[in-house]
Structures are given as structure tokens and as C-alpha cells.
Amino acid sequence: MTKPAPNTSEKYDLGFANWVYENVNGGDKLGLCMQCGVCSGSCPIGEQMDHGPRKLFMMIRAGMKDEVLSSNTMWNCTSCYRCVVRCPRSVPVTYILQDLAAKSVELGYAKPNENSKFSNSFWWSAKTFGRTDERLVTAKYYFSFGVVEGVKRGLDNLKIAWGMIKTGRMHLTMPHQIKDKAGLKAILAKAAEIEERESKS
């Protein structure tokens, strides 16, 4: 695991922490964190994260802006909410990570990577059909790495695909769609409008 450390010879720069408190969804609750470690210790994929939520929050306080916004921690979060349920101080860990991910894109820190590519494919299916179509999400994700890589990944996973088809977890006909797609569109438009309004206020 990487071990970035703040430069202790300098005074902590609280500018970044204050910016997070004010601009990140749930960031105002970060001051409640007492560094107990329940969030990182409870995380089912904590070992895949470079820092984990507890350390990331400490890095925010230490003013380590570049390290925080280029971390993989928020990208690996699966939003299982275990940390939120268990946090003894009621810090909305998942919300904070989600918005830190959004901010890292906004500020140009997030490079396209496995997680963001998968995230884009997943979101494309959800907003287009109102459902996730396993086959199309996977295809879009694999081919986002280029045609050669897409074919290679597809062939590598053929056995899994066949297993999923046999057990009804994936199908080959038209993608399943929700009935009221216009309704979904309206909901998403409204959400975008609210986001736009709140980001300005």
C-alpha cells in the first residue's frame, strides 16, 4: 500500500479541508470524524483502496488536495453503505466519497480508468433503458478499451457469459426496458435541474 504523508515541517493548510466542508455533499459532517477506523475496517473491498475512507478524511484535514483527488478510494466504493450504517459519529461516508469522485472529474484529476469506464457504461444502460442490461453494459465497457482489447476481454469471459445465459442472468434478445421511459427522462431532467441550481447557490 502506498503511504503518502503530509509534510509535517509545514503548517497544515486548512484551505482544502474548508473547501471540502463547504462544497462536497456531506462534507460539513467531516468535522465529526474521530478516526476510529470502523469505516475502513468494515469495507468489504477496503483492501482494494489505496487509502480507505478514514485515511482519506485525515488527508483532507492535512490539506493533501492532490493525493485526495487522485485517490482510487472513491472510485472503488460500491455504495454498500456498511460504513454509513456503522459510523458511530453518523458521518455520511458514502455520500462524501461519491461527491469527491464527481469533484475529481470536475477538477480534472480523474483519469479515465477501469472504474470510470465501467461507471459510464452502467450509467448509459440505466438512463437509456431504465434497467441494466448485463450484455450491453459489458460490451460497452470492454470495447471502451478499443476493438482489440474488447474482443480479447469478450473471449476471455465467454465461459462466464454462457453460464449466465444458461441460468437466465443474461439474455440475447432485445434489452429489457421499463414501460415509462418518458417518465424516467423527466425524473433525470429534474434531477439535473436541481443539481444545476444547487451548484450555483
Binding site: G37, S40, E47, G52, K55, R82
Partner: protein
């Protein structure tokens, strides 16, 4: 009594733990009549169930015994066991207190000879050992019980043992026909010292308390280490009675946690340091891991903290564990993140002790509605305007907040003085 003064100068103390005993003795030795009510069959409360207690790591008989002697020798203290308050009416100087008495089925002729126990065939959970073992249907609460009198469990009466037990008693002490009774007491002031209970560890669903007998709470650990506990003082794994040589002590188990008790109970850190000492005294090759957020060893006991910290076989791990799993071999696995080096761990133990906090007993059952008020956690604290509300009801000990023994005793002495002022009408 001065003209127009209080009708009654009797001080009623509700709850016979260390705080109630102290308040009763302080008031009585100053010359006031005291009635001391206790819900269970004997005095001493939580303190009597400790193996050893701070500040000097004495056995509870040390300290309690001398207080029992003072009660015994003071005609001004009237002790009533197995009694609960169900209502308070009236005002300062003239309270009428409704009391419910649960039958003991044994009168004061009992000499604690134990003949009734020998003929009893029923077995009930041993409240003294938090149900970790059983006692006969006719039992002495524990070996230093005060009053030193047997109790017949309602289960034994229900099983039809009454006549058999009565016949076995040479002293005519057993009365199987006793019924629950209610009566009123008159008092000029009331001191509420109903104490605490450990926070229910079963509510900590991520800590698997109900999934393994080897996951216990801190008060049960006291009994495991005590010479009159279920294991005769050997710290053994409850699952197979093998020595517990690798022990995890988990701090803040449900404390400082918005999902459980939001406050710090103040006693658990030193309590766990004491548990580490119990284990290390018994096993030279033992390993004790203390999982903590921060160690809050308060009071003047830093030297004790330092001594435990210097033991190379006691490890302080800065981490609140995320959860406890049961491993394939049946041992508990403590899982979490070490916050100093960010290592994720999954560590097996022989015994896991959850340092649960103190919850006021008053959260359930009757509590006074005047004089004191319930705070957001169920502790009874003085009203904002203090004694100015003209009531003669005061709280002390853990009923008033999370306190250790010496602080409870201080608060009880303070409450005794306030009660005396109330009944003197000054």
C-alpha cells in the same frame, strides 16, 4: 422539629448500591432516620459483582463489609430488601412513597445454614454471575451477602417445593405463603440511587455477542476472574473451559456511538486495563490485545495505565473493530483496520471481551418526576434551577451520570447533605 417545619424528617434512599449505602450511612450517622430500599435480595449492587475494584484494586468485600457493619450498628437505618418504589406523591417534607415488596419466602429467623438449599431440586440462573451458571431454587445471593439470608426463587415455589423447604428448616424461617405486597412510606426527602446496567451487548449486532459463548461483556469478565465466579476464578473460555490465553478487549463497544450510547461511560478503559492485568496474572504466556479509539483512563490512575502499557504481552491497537466473525474453528475473529499503519486485520482469539458502557437503570420502570429530570440518555440530573424548585428529591451515583466508584461515593455524600438540608427546612 421547628414550628411549621417538615412533617417528616426521614430520608428515603432508593437503591442499595455503593451510592445508596453511602448516602444512607452519611445521613444516619449525622443523626437522621433513614429508610434504605433495595430491589434485589442483598446490598452492594454492581460493586459487589466486581472481582476487584478501583482505586486500590480491592476485593469488593473490602469497603462494603465496613459499610455493612456501620448499617448493622446504626439503629437509625432501616433496611428493606426486595422493595421497589412505584409512586411518589406529596411535597418536600411530606412525601408519600408507594412501595412494592416481592416475596423472599424467607423471614429474618434465617441463619444461612443452607439446609433448605440441600433439599431443593430446582435450578435457576445465578443472577450474581450474570446467568453464567446456576444456583439451587433456595440460595444465598452470594457468600458476602448482606443481609446474610437465603432467598427462595419463585420458580421453586411454582415447582411445589414450598412445603419440602419449610420442613427442612430447623428455625421456622421459610414462609412459602408470602405474597407480593404494597405499602406506603412517609419521608421528608428522597435520594434516588438506582444505579446502572451494562448496555445490552446483543444490540451490537456486528459484534456477534449471541453467536459465540466466547464473546462476553466486561461485567461477565469480572465474574470469570472472581474466586466465587462460575469458574472459581480461572479465566477459561466459556465454550470448552480451556484457558483463555489470547484475549481481545474491545473498547467503546456501543459507547460514543450514535447508534447506541452516544456518551463515554468513563469507567470502561480502566476496567479493561484491569482485565488485562487479570489475564496476565494468571497466564505467563498470555497475549492481550486492547482495541481502542483513544484510552480514557481518568482519575489518578495513570501509574496503573503506564504499568499495563509497559507489559510487552499487552498490545494497544488503535482501531475500533468493524465486526466480529466466527471462524471455521469456531473461534471469534476480530476484523477491522489498524489506523496507525492502515493494515486490515482478521485476528482469531480465545476470548473476546466487549467493554460495554453503563446505562442508567432508571430508563425502565418508575422514576421521580419532580426534583430531578431525565436527560436525553435516561440519567436523572438536577433540574436547571437546582434546589430552587422546592423539591426534596435528589439523585446520586450512576443514576445521575456515568461515574466510577469514588465519584459515586462523592455524589452520594453531596446528596445526603442536600437531603438533610431539605428535611431540616433550612
Amino acid at each position: 422539629m421547628p414550628q411549621g417545619g417538615p412533617k417528616s424528617q426521614t430520608i428515603l434512599v432508593v437503591g442499595g448500591g455503593i451510592a445508596g449505602i453511602t448516602a444512607a450511612i452519611e445521613a444516619a450517622e449525622t443523626g437522621y432516620d433513614v429508610v434504605l430500599l433495595e430491589k434485589s435480595p442483598s446490598l452492594g449492587g454492581r460493586v459487589t459483582k466486581f472481582n476487584r475494584y478501583f482505586p486500590k484494586l480491592c476485593h469488593p468485600t473490602c469497603g462494603l463489609e465496613i459499610n455493612y457493619q456501620r448499617i448493622k450498628k446504626n439503629p437509625r437505618v432501616k433496611l428493606m430488601t426486595m422493595c421497589e418504589v412505584t409512586g411518589i406523591a406529596g411535597a418536600k417534607g411530606d412525601y408519600t412513597v408507594s412501595v412494592k415488596r416481592t416475596p423472599r419466602f424467607v423471614n429474618d429467623k434465617c441463619t444461612a445454614c443452607g439446609d433448605c438449599k440441600d433439599v431443593s431440586d430446582t435450578a435457576v440462573a445465578n443472577a450474581y454471575n450474570y446467568g453464567l451458571d446456576k444456583v439451587k431454587g433456595a440460595y444465598l445471593p452470594h457468600e458476602h451477602a448482606f443481609p446474610m439470608r437465603y432467598v427462595i426463587a419463585p420458580e421453586a415455589i411454582a415447582a411445589g417445593e414450598g412445603d419440602k423447604l419449610k420442613a427442612a428448616c430447623k428455625y421456622g424461617a421459610i414462609e412459602p405463603d408470602q405474597k407480593e405486597e404494597t405499602f406506603d412510606l412517609n419521608a421528608g426527602a428522597i435520594i434516588w440511587t438506582t444505579g446502572w446496567k451494562p448496555y445490552d451487548a446483543a444490540k451490537l449486532d456486528t459484534y456477534a455477542y449471541n453467536e459465540s459463548p466466547d464473546i462476553i461483556n466486561n461485567v461477565e469478565m469480572e465474574r470469570l476472574a472472581a474466586h466465587d465466579g462460575p469458574t472459581g476464578g480461572k479465566i477459561l473460555r466459556p465454550s470448552d473451559n480451556e484457558p483463555a490465553k489470547k484475549v481481545a478487549l474491545i473498547q467503546c463497544a456501543g459507547s460514543r456511538d450514535n447508534n447506541h450510547l452516544a456518551y463515554c461511560s468513563r469507567i470502561c478503559c480502566l476496567g479493561s486495563l484491569k482485565h488485562a492485568a487479570y489475564v496476565r496474572e494468571q497466564y505467563e504466556d498470555a497475549q492481550v490485545d486492547i482495541y481502542y479509539i483513544d484510552i480514557r483512563a481518568h482519575d489518578k490512575l495513570e501509574a496503573f495505565h503506564a504499568k499495563i502499557k509497559n507489559d510487552p504481552q499487552v498490545h494497544f491497537i488503535k482501531s475500533k473493530p468493524g465486526h466480529i466473525k466466527i471462524g471455521e474453528d469456531g473461534r471469534p475473529l476480530v476484523c477491522g483496520e489498524r489506523t496507525i499503519d492502515r493494515e486490515i486485520y482478521e485476528e482469531p482469539y480465545d476470548l473476546v471481551v466487549l467493554a460495554t458502557g453503563m446505562q442508567p437503570s432508571a430508563v425502565k420502570g418508575y422514576k421521580p418526576e419532580v426534583g430531578v429530570m431525565e436527560d436525553e440518555y435516561g440519567f436523572l440530573v438536577p433540574k436547571a434551577n437546582g434546589a430552587a424548585d422546592g423539591e426534596g428529591i435528589f439523585s446520586a451515583g450512576v443514576a445521575s451520570g456515568p461515574l466510577d466508584v469514588s465519584m459515586s461515593v462523592q455524589s452520594a455524600t453531596a446528596a445526603a447533605l442536600r437531603a438533610i438540608q431539605a428535611v431540616r427546612g433550612s
